[in-house]
């Protein structure tokens, strides 16, 4: 029996010791601090780029308004006459991965865009399955494939830069989209406005919708990824300047179960949560369910353009916003490649508009016939294979 009590004492001591440690835990964002300590910026923080992106949000894009994948923001055109070539063309694409619904929707959209063009006789795709090493060798093998143009969606920025440089040296036009590389050898780099604008759209919405002093929980997927760090950086700046109380910044790994547990934990710990900011919407519905199951009203929430979230938003009349990282950007590299091979000018940096779904235009994007994780901003509704290929 003596031992039993030793264990009980030890367990109590363990709990007490763990409590004592809580003050120097870096990810504890200090619920006792009313100003909401959100920590410091990551190494990716770039104030000039942040300001540039925030400016882009209100700028008018050039190009057809009903085809945002062909639009461009303040383009600096470059001459491509030296790449002019007669068809038919063989397009080659080195894809970082198709390992999440966003990339799956995007890739299908890209394939459908390719199918629109008879002058593309061959579309060769190598999937790097999320591995830098594989993508490096993929790009090398495409460089010797006699491609008319090479499209690259890099897995990571710095590691893939030399491989892209190598592809450029073969003289074939190289087009980079989504994540960037740190060389300017590609003919064009295509991307939506970017993560800062995405993060700011959601944070500004919460500042408007949540009463002063309200408790905001920020949910992030994981640290250390540039495209996600920028989203949080912009939101952090806005929250720091507001009177909102950021009671927690937590990582969900993009997992619904973990998200639901975290939100539930915070509802228990804080008594109430007045706003949810997310750096990606894949688990937004899980966050909403945590409030439902706790029997409290769903507060203003930032999601994304996944159908499950949009549907829930409409059905329950939530106060919500969806910044988007539009999947229609997957159409643009194909269009760019054909323009380049036709000798037409393209922008050196092709910045696509990045629309936001609000309660005003929500109805245009909700489509309950599509799968829950379909991204509404795919720009794919007019393509011949729609909707079956996306289901």
């Amino acid at each position: 029996m003596k031992r039993t009590w030793q264990v009980v004492t030890a367990a109590t001591a363990l709990v007490l010791a763990a409590t004592a440690c809580s003050s120097d835990n870096p990810s504890d964002t200090g619920s006792d601090d009313d100003s909401g300590d959100t920590g410091s910026h990551s190494d990716f923080y770039d104030k000039a780029e942040l300001d540039r992106q925030l400016g882009f949000r209100t700028a008018t894009a050039e190009g057809p308004a009903d085809q945002p994948w062909e639009q461009m923001l303040s383009p600096e055109m470059v001459d491509t006459a030296k790449f002019k070539k007669e068809g038919p063309y063989k397009l080659c694409f080195s894809n970082a991965a198709v390992n999440n619904p966003w990339r799956q929707v995007g890739f299908k959209t890209m394939q459908a865009e390719v199918d629109l063009h008879d002058e593309i006789s061959d579309f060769k795709v190598l999937d790097a399955e999320g591995e830098d090493d594989k993508q490096i060798s993929d790009i090398q093998s495409l460089a010797s494939e006699n491609c008319s143009a090479i499209i690259v969606s890099p897995n990571t920025t710095s590691t893939l830069t030399p491989a892209v440089d190598g592809a450029c040296k073969t003289g074939v036009p190289v087009i980079v989209f989504d994540r960037g590389v740190t060389t300017d050898c590609p003919v064009t780099f295509i991307h939506p406005i970017g993560g800062y604008a995405f993060g700011a759209d959601g944070a500004e919405f919460l500042v408007d919708e949540v009463d002063g002093g309200g408790k905001v929980l920020a949910l992030r997927i994981l640290p250390g990824v540039d495209v996600l760090e920028t989203r949080w950086s912009a939101a952090k700046d806005i929250f720091d300047d507001s009177d909102l109380d950021v009671v927690g910044v937590e990582f969900t790994d993009g997992d619904a179960a973990k998200t639901k547990t975290i939100v539930d934990d915070y509802i228990q710990r804080e008594g109430q949560i007045d706003g949810i900011w997310m750096d990606a919407g894949a688990t937004a519905v899980a966050a909403i369910e945590a409030f439902e199951d706790a029997g409290v009203d769903v507060p203003p929430i930032v999601g994304e353009d996944q159908q499950d979230f949009l549907t829930k938003w409409q059905e329950d009349g939530l106060t919500a916003i969806s910044p988007t990282y539009p999947t229609y950007q997957w159409r643009t590299p194909v269009i760019a490649a054909l323009r380049i091979l036709n000798g037409e000018q393209v922008p050196k940096e092709w910045v696509l508009p990045q629309p936001t779904i609000t309660s005003d235009n929500l109805g245009e994007y909700v489509n309950t016939d599509m799968p829950p994780l379909h991204y509404a901003m795919c720009g794919c509704e007019e393509l011949p294979e729609y909707p079956d290929a996306w289901k």
């Binding site: 179960a257 934990d265 008594g271």
Partner: protein, 339 residues
Amino acid sequence: MKRLAPGTLPVFAVLAILLVALAFAGPAYEHPQGYIALLKRAAPLMILALGQYFVIVTGGFDLSVGSLVTAEVVIAARLLDGNEDRTWPVLLLLIGFGALVGLVNGLISTVLEVPSFITTLGMLLILEGAVFLWTDGAPRGALTESFRQWGRMGFEDVPWIGQLPYSVLILLALGTAAALFMRTGMGRLVLAVGDNDTSVRLAGGRVRTIRTLAFVVSGISAAVAAILLGGFSGVSAQVGGGLEFEAITAVVLGGVALGGGRGSVVAAMAGALTLKALFSLLNLLGISGALESTVQGVIIVAAVAYAAADTGWRDRVLRSKARSTAQPGPPAPDVVTTS
């Protein structure tokens, strides 16, 4: 009242302390609803601990349950794809798939005599890879409401506690069945297999069958846990990550001896509840979830160290007793080694 099985008292003591501490730590535990919610969240892990108990007490390990849970949820989403009328067939199929995986684990471990640690590690990797291959890392399809209700809903407006979750009822039913089974002759045979399989074999007991069935029970419990977890939080390709270690930690915390032969199934489930209660307490105290795996690591080492020390201590006491009663004469032989 039957005496508690040896080694199980600490877990109930720790659990009681944690449950009382929760009431002081957060407003959510001022009402019974808070504890029901805790039980609801803990139910999948407690059911996994039940399955894991049978494997561990017969002398094995089942490391495959985490990725089996993930596979089950992903399969369910793909097959249901939002069609309500497929719910029941898919539920049955999931249970069947869990039993099949358990059967394969069991047969490979017993007939081919591959150590279960390796068999189930292999199964973990096989299922993980198969799920990734099948889904490209992003699950498709959707679970139906009638599928999700089991992990999410319950009987509403129950006096005093509010909602009585279905998952808690399922947990109680399975827990009671397992506890009653362990009191039967067959249940004692299960313990005996882990304790000394040679003597069971010599006495005519079917050791391989019992061990294989333990894996089948574990596979079915993983299927039930998957149904509850998928119901609780929806489709996710990470839902089962790390669950095998949580289940083993829970069983060890419940005082079940690794290597088999000793421990109670109720205590193993109490171990799972203790683990969840501890995580909830840490959360209420403002400690990051990142510490969960560290706490788990400390528990698993501490619990096994405690069990080893406890066994050694009892050995010495019994030996010295034997010596004193046998005086005068030669020292008594080493009789007490079974636990």
